[in-house]
């Protein structure tokens, strides 16, 4: 017992502001398109494993929800106009949540912002997103400091964090978990699989992305999103702009 107390006091407090630490230079974040002219080689489109890049009206559009941040497009761009920045705060609100004027939704988010209980459900992930969600509870991030907690049952939850593509074998579990939650609630699609459903393409065992089955409020790109990106997404969803 004495040794345990000694160890605890010798380490002290390690919890830190979530986004203050320097981001490693190799970190592959947002794919940024340069200002110079595109050579129209289309190598990026062909090289993307998840078909996250498309051409719309002559402009290159990168869907970060489907991006696995592998760097293939950056490597293949003949004009060298693509690069990974270290920007990782890529979470977006869905249209119905981002709409202004929905006062009720805004109020709900603000109330949740005081205390949010989250239920996780894995509906076909590779477990990387799950591990990053686990990391939110480690002493460095200590998600509890924001009034956020993970709970064991959807009946106790205000938010559902969903990881993975919707597999055939878990579609029923997704519906049942969602329906067991009290309303109003929020749904977050964590990672490229949940947000886009495109990581493994379309197979006999995959039914699609989360928003084809339950309404999604917050999308978090990443493969997997680093814990800091998840904290950003949570604060964004909870309207806590002062902390972002």
């Amino acid at each position: 017992m004495i040794n345990i107390l000694k160890q605890i006091t010798s380490i002290g407090m390690v919890t830190e502001p979530y986004d203050k630490r320097q981001i490693p230079s190799r970190f592959r974040g947002q794919v940024v398109i340069g200002n110079d002219s595109c050579k129209n080689c289309c190598a990026c489109l062909a090289s993307c494993p998840t078909k996250a890049i498309s051409q719309q009206g002559g402009c290159l559009v990168i869907d970060h929800k489907a991006c696995i941040f592998c760097g293939e497009c950056v490597k293949h761009c003949e004009a060298q106009q693509l690069r990974h920045s270290t920007h990782y705060k890529l979470a977006t609100l869905s249209d119905n949540l981002a709409e202004t004027g929905t006062l009720l939704k805004e109020k709900i988010r603000t109330i949740f912002g005081r205390s949010l209980h989250i239920r996780h459900v894995d509906i076909g992930s590779c477990n990387a997103c799950d591990f990053e969600m686990n990391a939110l509870s480690n002493p460095f991030f200590d998600i509890g400091q924001y009034g956020i907690d993970f709970v064991a049952s959807p009946r106790h939850a205000d938010m559902l964090m969903i990881t993975g593509v919707v597999t055939r074998n878990l579609t029923q579990a997704l519906f049942m978990t969602y329906e067991a939650m009290p309303t109003p609630n929020l749904v977050m699609a964590v990672g490229a699989c949940a947000a886009s459903g495109q990581v493994f393409g379309n197979t006999y065992a995959i039914n699609g992305s989360v928003d084809e089955f339950v309404p999604v409020d917050i999308y978090v790109p990443g493969c997997p999103p680093r814990p800091q990106a998840l904290i950003y997404a949570l604060l964004l969803g909870l309207n806590k702009e002062d902390l972002i």
Partner: protein, 500 residues
């Protein structure tokens, strides 16, 4: 490798002959649809023993899609055969348990997705097959269903406990909930594109899967990758083992409610994850191992950083382990809990930490040394008690060994690394080969057949969790149900690795 080609009806006899030679044991078994080339389905059996591999190819006759089941004689074949039955519709005659394994009750009868004539985008209606969970009936015996969605942040799986009071008398596990059909998804993809899916079979084993896949490609293409690329692969593989083992030891403390162990384990794991992010730009070390070599070098600054972080880790780790070793309340929970016998290990072909904790000396890095492991100096820790404690102490010693390996590897990488990648040449269509690696959980075995234009024809993934899951259901017998989370965490198997 040459496969000994046999007719399917003599499969049992041939496998018995191989087992009677003494050293070879079944490592993987899968089917392949070769109707467009040869006009038949084939069952491949891969055996490993004494540092060598042996392959058997059983050709299924035209008259009936069936083969004699190996399961009554070799229990390790049970899941492989159920999977072949599910995905190819080939019947293992005499199999004692042909319930669906991979495709659940929602799958309609008569559709076999891994056959070549099953289009990948085919719409499959919902089916309603019966699925009976196995349990024990009788007076005073009750059943406890758990999952597939669990209370914590963990992967999905359904467990059915048969209980007499607190004591578990039987456990049946229904898994494959996160089955994504990756083996089908990569068919027709270029070898390079498929690598991204191979890396995403499992998060916690990303590097091992990437290495197994890359080695399979390289062995078929008959290319040798630069020595320095091998060194970097070993480096990231050991970094993966480190963060897994350190995190798993912390998680194991969660199984007994020892808060100081949980927070220290997750703290040290976070330090390692941040190191990973500096090395590979991704916290799960994704994107560094690719077919033909590695995509990134290790700069002198990184070498310095890795050395510094691991030195720090080593001293802190020793201190935390000291807290566990001298804690009688903790030892009381982990010792003699969840014992897995060495006989069960041998019967089921158990691999990795679980096998080494039960006295089975297997480690792919030592027995089938790949990459540059034969030039490195490390011990393979061995325990014989087979309980939760043994699996914990094996991990503890492997952490120490991995730190040593990393230090040794860092000596081998020069300050200026060039040519870390060789290109994969055009491969003769329908060549096959395999790759393997020792993941934090055991042997990851990948078999690959390349089709025309360097595209994947058939890919079979046998992760370490595959042979180890059935062992969990055996290790829990006679334990009390509140110890199940602890026993389960001591194996720390991936669901995603198994389900794929």
């Amino acid at each position: 490798m040459q496969y000994q080609e046999i007719a399917a009806h003599s499969l049992v006899k041939e496998v018995k002959d191989i087992y009677n030679q003494g050293e070879y044991r079944l490592t993987a078994m899968f089917a392949n649809d070769e109707r467009n080339m040869k006009g038949y389905f084939a069952i491949y059996c891969i055996f490993a023993g004494a540092g060598r591999f042996k392959g058997l190819k059983a050709v299924i006759g035209q008259e009936a899609l069936q083969f004699p089941s190996l399961t009554p004689f070799f229990p390790s074949a049970a899941w492989y055969e159920r999977e072949i039955h599910d995905l190819f519709g080939i019947l293992p005659v005499g199999h004692p348990d042909l319930r669906p394994l991979v495709l659940h009750e929602n799958w309609p009868e008569g559709l076999y997705p891994m056959r070549k004539d099953f289009a990948i985008d085919m719409h499959v209606p919902m089916g309603e097959k019966p699925y009976n969970m196995l349990g024990v009936q009788g007076e005073g015996v009750f059943q406890v269903p758990v999952g597939p969605i669990h209370a914590g942040i963990i992967e999905p799986g359904h467990f059915r406990f048969s209980q007499a009071g607190e004591q578990i008398i039987h456990l049946d596990a229904k898994l494959f909930y996160t089955h994504r059909g990756i083996e089908k998804a990569v068919e027709g993809l270029s070898l390079k594109m498929a690598a991204y899916q191979a890396e995403r079979i499992c998060g916690a084993c990303s590097v091992s899967h990437a290495i197994s896949y890359a080695q399979a490609v390289e062995s078929i293409a008959n290319v040798e990758i630069p020595k320095e690329a091998e060194a970097i692969r070993v480096l990231v593989a050991e970094l993966e083992r480190l963060y897994n083992h350190v995190g798993d030891i912390g998680n194991l403390c969660a199984g007994v409610g020892l808060a100081v162990g949980i927070s220290n384990g997750s703290r040290l794991k976070e330090i390692l994850m941040r190191l990973n992010e500096s090395v590979a730009g991704n916290r799960f070390l994704r994107g560094i191992v690719i077919p033909g070599g590695v995509s990134m070098d290790v700069t002198p600054e990184l070498v310095w950083r890795i050395r510094k972080d691991l030195e720090h880790l080593a001293s802190e780790f020793t201190e935390i382990i000291g807290l566990l070793q001298n804690n009688s309340a903790f030892l009381d929970r982990v010792e003699s809990t969840g014992v897995l016998s060495s006989q069960a290990c041998r019967d089921l072909g158990v691999v990795g930490v679980a096998a080494r904790a039960s006295g089975i000396n297997v480690d792919m890095r030592q027995d089938y040394a790949y990459s540059i492991y034969n030039e490195l100096h490390f011990r393979v820790p061995l325990y014989t008690s087979g309980d939760v404690a043994a699996r914990l102490w094996v991990r503890k010693m492997e952490v120490e060994e991995s730190i040593k390996i990393v230090k040794e590897v860092l000596e081998k990488v020069s300050s200026k690394q060039e040519n870390l990648l060789v290109s994969i040449p055009e491969i003769k269509p329908y060549s096959s080969g395999f790759g393997w690696s020792e993941s934090p959980r055991g042997c990851n075995f990948h078999w690959l057949m390349v089709g025309e234009n360097n595209k994947v024809y058939r890919y079979f993934i046998r992760s370490a969790s595959y042979p180890n899951w059935p062992a969990v259901t055996i290790a829990v017998i006679d334990n009390i149900i509140p110890d199940f989370p602890l026993i389960n965490k001591s194996f720390e198997l991936c669901y995603a690795c198994l389900d794929r």
